[in-house]
């Protein structure tokens, strides 16, 4: 199993290998980061704020004199976990609804599409603001907000794909065989949407990372002392003028994570066929 995965990884183009390496690296950080962190995430360990690189603090100290490396190692878990979970939730929901619309006919599609129009037209950050104000900030709520925000985008793409695929001969054959709608949606249509949906997933992932950092700007984010990568950038923004590592490190982390995910997905074999 691992050997075959390794073999498949070897066939990836260079960009895919780079992407895979980055993704694996961040997955490892998400999984083991908190264990590797040299200091507790909330500990005030440096006397000065925005310290530079030193032996004690590899990535310097943050705006309160906490260890940036430790915070980064712990923060990655939130970003990777939240963004991946939200992107999956959004994709799963959007795709499920799109399939429902594709096989359900106009009576199902019309209300669904209006509903999606509604979701998409309410600015996501303001929507988040309202929801957090109404329900209080919590990880599940953040997850839900990010997912809800990106369901309509996924729905649009998935629906376009599904409606096209629903016209394919093999779907007609399945209908003529007497197959139910559920079977058609799941077995006949869905597998052929996977590749374009994966590419979409990659972009959604980026957007969600971005949304989370945007939310942290508005003060809606992970509960302190923890912070996702976006919040780390945000809370240290006043160090930007002095080029503090505290802000550069999480920004680079976000960039490598999102670029890595997309390089990997772009390089997966079989892409482009579904278009």
């Amino acid at each position: 199993m691992i050997a075959s995965a390794f073999k498949r990884a070897k066939t990836l183009p260079l960009s895919g290998k780079v992407g895979l390496t980055l993704v694996l690296f961040w997955l490892a950080v998400a999984l083991f980061g908190p264990m590797l962190a040299p200091y507790p995430v909330g500990a005030f360990v440096a006397y000065d704020v925005f310290e530079g690189q030193s032996a004690a603090h590899w990535l310097g100290s943050d705006y309160l004199g906490r260890d940036v490396l430790s915070r980064l190692l712990s923060g990655a878990r939130y970003t990777v976990g939240l963004a991946a979970a939200a992107a999956m939730l959004a994709s799963a929901t959007g795709t499920a609804l799109a399939l429902t619309a594709a096989v359900g006919g106009a009576k199902v599609e019309e209300p669904l599409s209006r509903f999606m129009d509604m979701l998409i037209s309410i600015p996501s950050k303001i929507f988040s603001l309202v929801l957090v104000a109404a329900f209080g900030s919590s990880l599940p709520l953040l997850l839900l907000i990010a997912a809800i925000t990106y369901v309509p985008g996924n729905y649009r793409i998935a629906r376009a794909l599904a409606v096209n695929l629903a016209q394919m001969d093999y779907v007609q054959v399945a209908r003529a065989r007497g197959e139910g709608r559920f079977h058609i949606a799941i077995t006949e249509i869905l597998p052929n949407m996977i590749h374009p949906l994966l590419a979409d997933f990659g972009l959604r992932f980026v957007f969600i990372v971005l949304l989370l950092s945007g939310l942290s700007f508005l003060g809606l984010g992970v509960q302190p002392p923890d912070a996702d990568l976006g919040s780390l950038v945000r809370e240290n923004i006043s160090g930007l003028g002095e080029g503090a590592l505290a802000i550069l490190a999480p920004a680079v982390a976000i960039a490598t994570l999102t670029v890595g995910v997309n390089l990997l997905i772009d390089a997966l074999p079989g892409r482009g066929k579904g278009r």
Binding site: K125, L210, V233, L257, G272
Partner: protein
């Protein structure tokens, strides 16, 4: 375009506009109900927020009565809706002036910023998208791919802050805040919004460029493209004259989607550059629980989105002779 077909194009577009109008009304209604319901869940109301911590109970009651907040929720919604239908979005509870007036002050700002950003971002996105499509798989394509991905990945506030540090604090070329006032000329205005435009562009360009690339590549393997090449058409002309007319529909659609972000999604940019736009107005409306204002903003964002989608669809019709004829 022949006269007859452009006429049939208009007809098809008009009938689409007609159909969309009805479904748009439905969407708007849905949005207003949703906003209203969610806003009911928010703690506190406009009266409490306006009076603040120090308010006495009588004061709150008096203000509630004045604002009409002592009526049941459905009555308030119904009265808002009847007002809206007759073209009156009501009175802002907090600013003590008609919502229409408050909006009228901000809407042009938002529209202008969005339009200018589109003006910058669309050509850049098209160039990047087409450029990478033409070099599909090549070095330029890969470099642009990583560049656009990285662009999406950088938080807006970071882009904005870096831009401010460089262009206004360090170089002092551009003002760090967008000051919209009537006495300034266009030159000052453009200087003021240069960085907001830059920041917003970074956000939307990447997405639009990627969609453009996909749409162009989608057409590149079509036989008519090979035919054009075999006719001796130069590569750039192949893209501009042959591929673009066919790729324009998905591209415009993606652009419309991205551009709809420029109105409501500009919260952070409006905040950082202190630009008096609609998004921050809506945030204001949320925090002050100013329902009529909140609703009005939501309606505008929703209508803008629907309008952009309609424009995209009409473009698709006008670009496609087959749809035009229908």
């Amino acid at each position: 375009m022949a006269g007859a077909s452009s006429q049939s194009g208009m007809k098809a577009a008009l009938s689409l506009i007609g159909k969309r109008f009805a479904s748009s009304l439905l969407t708007l209604l849905l949005v207003s109900v949703t906003i209203f319901v969610i806003a009911q869940l928010l703690p506190g109301d406009a009266a409490q927020e306006a009076l603040g911590q120090s308010a006495t109970a009588e004061q709150v009651a008096a203000l509630r009565h004045e604002m009409g907040l002592d009526r049941p929720a459905y009555v308030r919604y119904a009265s808002w809706l009847t007002g809206m239908v007759s073209g009156d979005p009501g009175q802002s509870m907090v600013a003590n002036m008609p919502v229409a007036g408050v909006i009228a002050e901000r809407l042009p700002n938002s529209l202008l910023l969005a339009a200018l950003t589109a003006l910058v971002a669309v050509p850049v996105a098209l160039t990047i998208g087409i450029g990478s499509a033409m070099n599909r798989g090549g070095r330029i394509d890969r470099a642009l791919n990583i560049a656009t991905l990285s662009m999406v990945a950088v938080p807006e506030f970071l882009v904005a802050t870096i831009a401010v540090l460089i262009f206004s604090v360090k170089l002092r070329w551009l003002p760090s805040i967008a000051l919209a006032s009537e006495e300034m000329g266009w030159g000052d205005y453009l200087r003021g919004v240069a960085m907001p435009i830059l920041t917003l562009s970074v956000v939307v360009i990447a997405q639009m460029a990627r969609m453009t690339r996909a749409a162009v590549i989608d057409q590149m393997d079509r036989p008519y493209v090979e035919m054009a090449v075999l006719k001796g058409v130069a590569p750039v002309q192949v893209v501009l004259k042959h591929i673009m007319p066919n790729a324009i529909a998905p591209i415009v659609n993606a652009m419309a989607l991205s551009l709809s972000y420029l109105l409501g999604g500009a919260v952070i940019v409006e905040t950082i550059f202190n630009y008096p736009g609609l998004a921050s107005l809506m945030v204001n409306a949320v925090t002050s629980r100013d329902m009529p204002l909140l609703q009005a903003c939501a309606m505008i964002f929703c209508a803008a989105y629907l309008l952009l989608m309609l424009i995209a669809d009409v473009t698709a019709i006008l670009a496609n002779p087959r749809l035009r004829a229908q």
